[in-house]
């Protein structure tokens, strides 16, 4: 990898940040480039990209906007594989001409360029073109969710949330002004990427007819595609002479067309994280008949409300199942537990009670998903319960989703689930959103 535009005097220059982190932390060979040459941290600075003695796969370009087209041209001549253009100062500041020039140089040579005005690529443990000092970043674990974002800031924020909720990343790409590589190109790439199971996008808008191409491509994709869209509010009141044009506003069209093609729309960033976490574990579509297991009646009631908001049903279990459940509970809670659904095992329940009910619900066809609301402060619950319940899922393969308050004290319980591929939400609403994700994703 070459980093073009490193400073010999300013260690905080974006190019230097990128050079340093890759040089010190990642398994890539990285070469600094600056026309003045010289030495940077005891390494040779190459005056020109063509001077580098090895073949270059990726050039990260962080020079002034006016110089970018020439640098791209030099990369093409030097047989570089592709480029990420970090530099700003293009269409976003009125220099569409400069951006078009760069794109046409790259386009003619079929030379892939990400950006300009972007952070570029973050591939966990592999390569990282983000100009953010590594010690400041919250880095998600390697995993199977890929995220593509027009906005670098939103992407970094989402990564922070992914890390917080144990969602692993296969790749994160900030595409900035998307002069050449656009959402649809990355969709095509990620569809084929064996490391990626879920593809998430943050989109501000598409170009003319680009949305049509995108949904038609997504329709061919067997992996879940999730989109978070901004700019949902109508742009003021325009004089519209037709009812259809006024009723079918930009966002209404966007939202309805996504659902037509089984693209999952996340309404906000919380939904995005919940959907990614859920679909990274489960990809079998469900109807949405949920069995809820809880140690607190209040939690059960809140979960039922949330299900109702999403049109998810919480069916009353048959007498037979209810009897079976009651018969398997510890004698101390047999007479006080409620077993209709939600199943409230009360604050006196122990690990085994949760586990046995989870097993029964996993085996009955009356429900297609189990939501476990766990209160780790109850005396009968231990830190082992997460791993124990994950085993129940491993046997029956019926989707299991847990709610556990996310504080450090309970992390072993949480990891017992997450490390065994059972998603955990820090909120009740989030757990129900995970059910919603499975219901919405209906692969053709």
């Amino acid at each position: 990898m070459a980093v073009v535009g490193v400073s010999l005097t300013n260690d905080r220059h974006p190019a230097n940040v990128i050079y340093n982190k890759n040089h010190l932390r990642y398994p890539v060979r990285v070469f600094p480039v600056n026309p003045r040459g010289g030495i940077l941290q005891r390494e040779t600075v190459y005056p020109h990209i063509a001077d580098i003695p090895e073949e270059i796969d990726l050039a990260v370009i962080a020079v002034r906007a006016e110089q970018v087209p020439d640098v791209v041209e030099a990369c093409i001549k030097a047989n570089v594989g592709g480029a990420v253009v970090i530099s700003g100062g293009f269409a976003e500041t009125g220099r569409k001409d400069l951006q078009d020039r760069m794109a046409s140089i790259a386009g003619e040579a079929d030379f892939p360029v990400i950006g300009p005005n972007c952070l570029g690529i973050y591939a966990p443990s592999y390569v990282d073109s983000f100009f953010l000092p590594i010690e400041r970043m919250v880095r998600p674990e390697p995993g199977n969710v890929a995220m593509v974002s027009q906005s670098g800031g939103i992407l970094v924020d989402q990564m922070l949330r992914f890390a917080g909720e144990g969602v692993g990343l296969s790749l994160a790409v900030s595409i900035g002004n998307k002069a050449m590589i656009r959402e649809i190109d990355l969709l095509g790439y990620l569809m084929e990427d064996p490391k990626t199971k879920v593809i998430a996008f943050y989109v501000e808008g598409f170009e003319r007819n680009e949305g049509r191409e995108f949904v038609l491509a997504a329709d061919q994709c067997v992996k879940p595609v999730i989109i978070l869209k901004s700019g949902k509010s109508p742009e003021g009141v325009r004089a519209v002479s037709s009812h259809t044009a006024s009723l079918a506003g930009d966002y209404k069209v966007f939202s309805e067309v996504l659902s037509q093609f089984s693209v999952v729309e996340a309404k906000n960033d919380s939904e995005l994280v919940s959907f990614c976490e859920s679909l990274s574990c489960y990809q079998e579509p469900i109807k949405g008949r949920v069995g809820i297991i809880t140690g607190s009646g209040g939690h059960g009631a809140m979960a039922v409300d949330s299900c109702a908001d999403h049109g998810i049903s919480v069916p009353v279990l048959s007498e037979m199942i209810q009897e079976e459940i009651r018969g398997k509970l510890a004698p101390s809670i047999q007479s006080i537990a409620s077993v209709k659904n939600p199943i409230d095992l009360t604050g006196s329940a122990v690990d085994e009670d949760f586990s046995v009910v989870a097993r029964i619900l996993s085996e009955t066809s009356e429900i297609d998903c189990v939501v476990m609301l766990l209160l780790p402060y109850l005396p009968g619950i231990t830190s082992d319960l997460g791993a124990m319940l994950s085993q129940v899922f491993q046997r029956a393969r019926k989707p299991l989703i847990a709610y556990v308050p996310h504080v450090d004290k309970y992390s072993m319980l949480i990891e017992g689930f997450e490390l065994n591929r059972v998603p955990v939400s820090p909120s009740i609403e989030g757990a129900i959103l995970m059910v919603e994700a499975m219901r919405r994703f209906q692969p053709c």
């Binding site: 808008g205 598409f206 170009e207 003319r208 007819n209 680009e210 949305g211 049509r212 949904v215 002479s241 037709s242 009812h243 259809t244 044009a245 006024s246 009723l247 079918a248 930009d250 209404k252 069209v253 966007f254 309805e256 067309v257 037509q260 093609f261």
Partner: protein
């Protein structure tokens, strides 16, 4: 290939920006959509003769290139029961700016729906179904899909309306002919795909649906001024 007759209707409408209603209805007829029976009468005698032919009551609407919104110029009269009323209405319309005749039509009855299309910037042609009539923008009860549609899309659109129950028969009311509605939407979708480069949007509002048939009672086709 665009039918020559459809092209011949759209081409001269480009300067005006929209298609006069009688021409819009003729276009829909050419595309295989059922509209209310109508005559574009330039003389009173012609109007009276057609009213007699189809039988009262009839609807009379003003035709004028300056009246895109006919009700704004009081240019729509429904339930006209006899020659005398029709004559009075005809005379009144003659004074409306840009007067180019009167559209005399049969009265259709049923549930009022809107079937529309727009060429969306990001997604191209989309088709919309909703509860129609003059309250269309108040209820905002609509569903839409990207065209061209298949039968599942059409079923989804009908079932997705909040007032979908009304169409299927609610509390003893007669259900509308969903078969006919489905065919109408499919035919409309095919038309929209055919003329997508010519139009900005189309409102079929209202489409009158009852147990027997679904028929387009009013149509507004907004034409693109040039090819981008």
């Amino acid at each position: 290939m665009l039918k020559t007759e459809i092209r011949e209707i759209l081409l001269p409408s480009r300067e005006l920006g929209w298609v006069l209603e009688p021409e819009a209805k003729r276009l829909l007829g050419l595309a295989g959509l059922e509209t209310t029976r109508f005559r574009w009468a330039h003389q009173l005698e012609e109007a009276l003769q057609f009213a007699e032919e189809i039988g009262y009551p009839v609807v009379a609407k003003v035709v004028s290139p300056e009246a895109l919104h006919k009700s704004d110029v009081d240019g729509v009269a429904v339930g006209i029961a006899d020659d005398k009323t029709l004559s009075t209405v005809f005379e009144r319309y003659s004074a409306i700016k840009g007067f180019s005749g009167v559209l005399v039509e049969e009265m259709a009855s049923g549930t009022e729906l809107i079937v529309g299309a727009k060429i969306d910037y990001q997604f191209g042609p989309v088709v919309l179904l909703g509860i129609g009539g003059t309250g269309v923008e108040i209820y905002q009860d609509t569903t839409l899909r990207m065209a061209p549609l298949n039968r599942q899309d059409v079923d989804y659109m009908i079932n997705g309306l909040k007032a979908g129950q009304l169409l299927k028969g609610y509390r003893g009311s007669e259900p509308v002919n969903l078969q006919a509605l489905g065919s109408l939407i499919m035919t409309f979708s095919a038309l929209v795909m055919e003329i997508e480069n010519w139009i900005e949007s189309i409102d079929l509002n209202p489409v009158m649906c009852n147990a027997k048939r679904c028929v387009v009672a009013d149509a507004r086709i907004m034409v693109r001024d040039s090819f981008a």
